[in-house]
Amino acid sequence: MADYPDRKVRDAQMRATINQKLVETGEKERLKELLRTKLIECGWRDQLKAYCKEVVRQKGLEHITVDDLVAEITPKGRALVPDSVKKELLQRIRTFLAQQSNI
């Protein structure tokens, strides 16, 4: 229990270091781009687009804002990300970090 605050600090430092590496090297943007591409390829974007249309149709354009729509579709968007895509992303992050000497 006593070292709990230290652990938190250490974890935060570790996170910051990894994050910095990912950003500095441009890997974070590449990974996000990969994720976007995978989401298109697997049909996630089309599925969500159809759901988006359905929500607008049901609520009526005059009774919905962009923020409402984002709030409505985001949980579904999260749930629909295929496990295979998540696994690939995680693997890519791990592989990248394994190649970095000072982490």
Binding site: D11, K49, V66, I73
Partner: protein, 84 residues
């Protein structure tokens, strides 16, 4: 401990990346969808209004032409009658 911390950080960053991307994509889709629906509703409205304006224009023109033709025909017929 070091590996645990590293692993937790990777998991956090991974989830954050998924969340950010999903949110960005959802916002992009929402903006596009709202824009497309607005555009499509506007086009449908333009088509309906355009058609109705033409119907009114034709009606108005036909009414005026019919009045002019009626006046002229009656005048001509009266002139013919008077000549006889």
């Amino acid at each position: 401990e070091y590996e645990r911390s590293k692993n937790d950080s990777i998991q956090d960053i991974f989830h954050e990346m998924i969340d950010e991307t999903v949110h960005d994509q959802c916002r992009d889709l929402s903006l596009r969808q709202m824009r497309d629906v607005k555009e499509s509703l506007k086009n449908e409205s333009i088509e309906r209004v355009g058609t109705s304006l033409i119907v009114d224009l034709v009606d108005d023109c036909v009414s005026k032409e019919c009045q002019a033709i009626s006046h002229k025909t009656l005048q001509e017929e009266e002139t013919l009658r008077d000549l006889k």
